[in-house]
Symmetry: C2
């Protein structure tokens, strides 16, 4: 019988043939159309430093418009140096995360300004909430990477990233997440990670052990923190997941092919900047394409259009041979049945599309405005169920010799409490039972020392 | 923008390649093992009449044990006469339902003794509840067949099937469902259907227009109403879906291959009885294999094991070339997040497994003990979303030119009500707005007349 801690979930491999919405010809046509966009329009890059990096053959600059156009030979060359095999190395090797081939990994809801639970309601996130998010990620083997569960708004912005990274490294031993809000903050985070992992600068550059999300500003704009983040992550050899957020019918064309063409062009641009900064920089192909609700005009997630966009984006990533990141998203404002079925739609879309990494896999709610503690548990239950669906039957078809033991359905037999209420009990018990992984006191002291010095210096203001 | 009534959902075709859990060799081995079971053990058949039908070459009787063993040549011959193409013909041709190839159809929760809604709670079903279930099925194009939404316990058993069939034929024009509780009741239902569809007995026998579910009594028992039902449906040329209900770890082996081997053997036996009774009788391959919860010992649904069992059962049905029926099931006692994600697991398992007909697709709850009005709407939303996922993109990849308009997410913008509460509003509005399809008054009078005569005669007691 399987227990809450389930090492079998630490390395997931997807045995199913990915779904397709495009023919091979359509995939090639989308790629060609994206190259044409990059040649004819290029992207507006709001960082002068990043633009200067792109002073290379095949790049055409218009400094007044802040645009850089890339010819297809340059993009092709950059695709040639991007690695196909990427692994994130954790402090503890049992938490290393391969991101290539048929590997599947999950990360938590990230970037939400708010958190929510049944006792305390919806409120602005704090460092205590963030730390609870880290503890929950560490508690379940099916959550492979840490993330930015909420924005701790009780910590001043110049110290916030330091506090978040310090919490990840103190409280857990899974892969930590770094935000891109300027070179100074990024390098603060890198210094903490180096100390936690005991790596020299040279060793760190050769060993991916933290990751970030690069969001373009669709259509065809790369803002300064993101452009600089691409460069900093490339130079440091750390993993960046370049993820255009395109809503068809809003900032992107209304057709699936059109929206994915735009997203593909933006990802190729970011990848090219990374490869020019450092050939061989590890880049993950990210996608986050959905539609707007036709009635309210607000973003909709977990929709049929979202599922098909995932199938299509997965085809584009495989066309390039790159690892592919997608998301578990819902527009539901509360952790109810709608949140559950929209998340299931998103998760099946991701897995059937062949996703290697699913961000926002646990806890995402309200179109990303809120991370919910109950939703985290509801999602972990679903992730564990899907992890079981991915497990091979074995050569003799012997697939029901163990039965999955649910977190919630079996939480309290005979109990008719709403699943959300049961999830509340489960998350509070997980936090009450939490045991911080053992750490070398010298490492903890080195982290504390760095934190003290940077705090005394006032931290680093975020780049905007 | 799509509306509640969506003719595009009336004919669904699954464009995706079905998932597999077994190799071709494993599929062949399961089939061979099932044939060996039928040859060596056979099935216990609790109807003498049905056993007498099986006095044919290749059948070995043990009348004391009430068992009939079938050799593989006989089963092979019967597989040869079973049709691969089956269509159910409705009163209105727009509601005809093809059940073969890549066709997909959905039917409602069936057979529940209880119904539930937020205002009235959980209670024994009545004829009024049953009629509301028929109206809801008729209201949504994504529900293709009628069913036995609840058991109307305010109608005496000898008149209950008459009342249910009369309600289906008066209130709707989709495919009606018939229960198997003895030849007398079945033939009452057939007589009503003939009158509603204006068919002579001969025409009726050549035109499948009602369906039933045959459940075996695993392991390897066929009770009298089911055995006689197989014969009656075969003789009448109406559609029977032979569905062993096997819970691995309870009445079936704990391995997936073992549980599916038993189910396959039982389905082959039922199919053989039908083909001996009338070669060419339309038989659908049904499966309902799940596992028991290891903690409580109660049946569990929508589990990872259930999904894999669906993938495997779909492979077995395709191996025989028969249409395949599966189910949308959940163990949740209320229409909450657990009910939603277990149903999504079940539905994806069915569609990815290549199911042609999904029974219990809307409204099933509490392991089948209750049909819920709110769950019906929550499920219809999910069925519509999945129906959209099945829609082709079109040759130009133009897939987001319309966006799915949700029943619930868009029900009331800015409304944070729980999805279950919103589903309650939607189902009550659907019933308030319900318009009975127009019917020839002479037909209605013929139905009333038959009902009066049978009611005056006391109806037909159910066979037990």
């Amino acid at each position: 019988m399987r227990m809450q801690s389930e090492p079998a979930y630490r390395r997931l491999v997807n045995p199913y043939v990915p779904m397709r919405v495009f023919s091979d010809d359509q995939v090639a046509a989308i790629h060609a159309a994206a190259l044409t966009i990059l040649e004819n329009q290029g992207m507006k890059v709001l960082s002068r430093g990043a633009r200067e990096r792109l002073r290379v053959d095949g790049a055409v600059h218009d400094e007044a418009a802040q645009t850089v156009r890339l010819d297809r030979a340059l993009v092709g060359h950059c695709l040639g140096t991007a690695p196909r095999e990427i692994t994130l190395y954790a402090a503890s090797s049992e938490h290393d995360v391969p991101l290539s081939g048929r590997a599947v990994a999950f990360g938590p809801s990230s970037g939400a300004p708010n958190v929510s639970d049944l006792q305390r309601g919806r409120r602005a996130g704090t460092l205590a909430d963030y730390e609870d998010g880290v503890r929950l990620c560490q508690s379940y083997d099916v959550v492979h990477l840490l993330g930015a569960f909420t924005e701790p708004q009780d910590v001043p912005p110049p110290l916030r990233q330091l506090a978040m990274m310090h919490a990840q490294l103190r409280l857990a031993d899974k892969i930590p997440h770094t935000f891109c809000r300027g070179a100074a903050q990024i390098n603060d985070c890198f210094e903490l990670v180096r100390r936690a992992f005991g790596l020299s600068r040279e060793q760190f550059r050769e060993r991916p052990c933290t990751y970030t999300i690069i969001n373009t500003n669709s259509p065809l704009v790369l803002d300064a923190p993101m452009a600089d983040g691409i460069v900093e992550f490339a130079l440091a050899g750390q993993v960046q997941m370049i993820t255009p957020f395109t809503l068809s019918g809003a900032m992107a064309p209304v057709t699936l092919a059109g929206a994915l063409t735009l997203a593909h062009a933006e990802t190729l641009f970011g990848l090219s900047l990374a490869q020019v900064a450092r050939p061989g920089a590890p880049v993950v192909y990210g996608s986050f394409t959905s539609n707007v609700d036709m009635k309210s005009g607000s973003p909709a997630f977990g929709t049929p259009e979202y599922v098909k966009a995932q199938f299509g984006a997965g085809q584009m990533a495989r066309f390039l041979g790159l690892p592919w990141r997608s998301s578990n998203a819902t527009g539901s404002n509360i952790p109810d049945a709608q949140g559950a079925y929209e998340s299931q739609m998103s998760l099946w879309g991701a897995l059937l599309g062949g996703s290697n990494f699913v961000l926002h896999a646990a806890g995402w709610m309200e179109s990303g405005l809120t991370s919910s503690f109950e939703k985290f548990i509801l999602d972990v239950e679903q992730l564990q169920m899907l992890a079981e669906v991915l497990q091979p039957l074995g050569g003799d078809g012997n697939g029901i010799s163990h039965a999955y033991r649910p977190l919630l359905a079996g939480e309290s037999p005979g109990d008719d409490a709403d699943a959300t209420l049961r999830a509340n009990r489960v998350y509070r018990r997980a936090l009450a039972d939490y045991q911080t992984p053992a750490r070398d006191p010298a490492v903890l002291e080195a982290l504390d020392d760095y934190m003290r010095r940077r705090t005394d210096a006032g931290g680093s203001p975020p780049q905007t």
